[in-house]
Symmetry: C2
Subunit: 364 residues, 2 copies
């Protein structure tokens, strides 16, 4: 499409607004996942199974894994061919936008594999930069090609004009080094139909995404956000949390509201075990994406809001219940389904990173 979503009257809905369905991309990469991605596949199946009780789920899978995925997934999950390297559809998938007359379109952001962090370790751009286009084809949705590098996990919106992101990611020279903060803000407004950008500083410590906001903070509904939190002074996340809280509490959203900031406990620091570092393939340059002792960026905030439930990562028995209580209180109309997600965490993200909503195009 020529033009921009905002110029054409479109906006990105909040994740908490009604969905027509959810996309997931099957994990297959032996260099991103251990043991040929089979343990990760089992975790993805449980995520798909949970969400499919709430809305239609489509899983994209390469031809060579199609039969395996079809056999592993519940019958009511649709399985379509989609050639991929990465399996984080939040990031390389499209951002859907809707207008007040019931139309739906899609934004296809540029994807450079998280600022080329993984080049040349386990990255081939060709397949993954095409995923958004292909998903929009499947959905028969017209496409806007956005002129900036952006992963979906680096933004959250309230659907009423407000967007939250982090400076660490969106102002990182490895994404859009030739653009100013103002230029990036203008592009975000134009392609998400927002007016106000709330900038947090850093994202989660050691996040390979350069600080995606979806591991730190998210909207519950307009005016209400959840924020990862620790009271432990020695935790490296302490400073990130304090700074984010200050900025959120000082912010005013697009409707002039102050934000109600609710705190979700972080799990104790998580590290890759020696066992978890085995079974990951080396790439052509001999490098590895996984080493024992890696600090894993674990956050309960990385949940997915489906129509009828929250698909929440279970991360540590010491903190799962406390985190669940805050989330359940924030979403009284949805049940909270906890899913063991250690295998997804080992790949570098969690449930929010592996899902992408298709918002309902119905009239409001």
């Amino acid at each position: 499409m020529p033009g921009t979503p905002a110029g054409d009257g479109f906006r990105m809905p909040g994740e908490f607004e009604r969905h027509d369905g959810t996309w997931i991309v099957w994990p297959e990469s032996g260099t991103n996942w251990r043991d040929g991605a089979r343990p990760a596949q089992r975790a993805y199946v449980e995520v798909a199974r949970a969400i499919a009780t709430s809305e239609e789920v489509t899983v994209g899978v390469s031809e060579r894994q199609w039969e395996n995925a079809r056999a592993a997934l519940p019958n009511d999950v649709r399985v379509v061919e989609l050639t991929t390297n990465w399996s984080w559809v939040r990031d390389h998938g499209p951002t859907f936008v809707v207008d007040a007359s019931g139309r739906r379109r899609g934004v296809d952001w540029r994807f450079n594999s998280y600022g080329h962090i993984a080049l040349p370790r386990y990255y081939s751009a060709a397949h993954d930069d095409a995923i958004a286009r292909k998903i929009l084809e499947y959905e028969r949705v017209d496409r806007y090609a956005a002129p900036i590098v952006l992963e979906g996990g680096s933004i959250h919106v309230d659907g009423e004009g407000t967007l939250i992101t982090t400076e660490e990611c969106l102002l990182n020279p490895n994404r859009n080094g030739d653009l100013t903060r103002l230029q990036i803000e203008e592009t975000l407004r134009a392609y998400t139909g927002t007016e106000v950008v709330i900038w947090l500083g850093r994202g989660a410590v050691d996040d390979v995404t350069s600080g995606h906001v979806d591991n730190l903070c998210c909207f519950v509904r307009p005016g209400v956000v959840l924020l990862s939190w620790t009271d432990e002074p020695s935790d490296p996340m302490r400073e990130v949390c304090l700074d984010a809280r200050r900025r959120l509490e000082a912010a005013t959203d697009a409707r002039g509201r102050s934000l109600d900031v609710r705190l979700v406990p972080l799990p104790p620091a998580q590290y890759r075990t020696p066992d978890e570092a085995t079974g990951v393939d080396r790439t052509s340059d001999g490098s590895l994406s996984a080493v024992a002792g890696d600090h894993l960026t674990a956050s309960y905030i990385n949940f997915y809001i489906a129509n009828e439930l929250i698909a929440m990562p279970l991360l540590d028995e010491r903190t799962d219940d406390a985190a669940r209580a805050v989330i359940a209180d924030a979403f009284p109309d949805r049940r909270v389904v906890g899913i063991p997600s250690r295998e997804i965490l080992l790949g570098g993200g969690n449930i929010h990173c592996i899902t992408q909503q298709v918002p309902a195009a119905a009239l409001r």
Copy 2:
């Protein structure tokens, strides 16, 4: 699905009934098509372009040809990933069935590459036997696995209980050699929701499909059929036409009607030129699928009935107009769009062979 379509109250609609859309599979095989299938692709594009003026068209294409197909096809044609060898979706695609309450399901017939004629020349069964399943996934349609080998081009139905096929194909030992005529009839009835099977004898001479009916005869509507015809005593098709006419005129359909048999002239015999035999790849055993002088099975009957038009193959200037006149007279509510289809003919079929309708699931 357990059970059968007929047992569950489903029937295969006539092609002339309302469609929700049409599937096409992109030609890619260098052993089936000359010059890397690029000339065939241009012909397929024109077929897709014509049908897309009438209904939604989806083209399935392998990952390696996705960008090329996307660029070549009109914007309103949907392009999805689908790994294939053959590109005759009439034959390896599903047969859709509907019921009176507005539901749609699909029949997945066994596919053995036209009775293994092409083994080992240019055949790999794995991809093509999966195409029907995958298309049913895309359409979110439940699937019946039919227990016989059958290509969609070997049957035509009137949607009111009558099916036409040929003995040459369906009774051929290379398809279902272990089944009797009665067993095959019972299976056809069960999986298409028909009651009466009208058996023609041979199909078109030299047809590599072993005589698919869709190169010889088709329904215009219940009670009316079109039949390929020649008055030339020396034409090898003369005997086939006479026999088919006798059988059709002697038949009674499921509603007790005699058939109105209308004759469509055959083009003069068509042969592969030396130029047309170049550019076809040899396969691993060194064989070729194309030799100069091959008799090409050309038939105007191999048209496609879309909602608002007939996509008709143009085969020979000496006969195109006469054939078009009969077809236009038979379908007064549709425009007849002639499409140069020599390149499709060179691959072994024509427009009907490369299309598969998705019937509307609306209430009748």
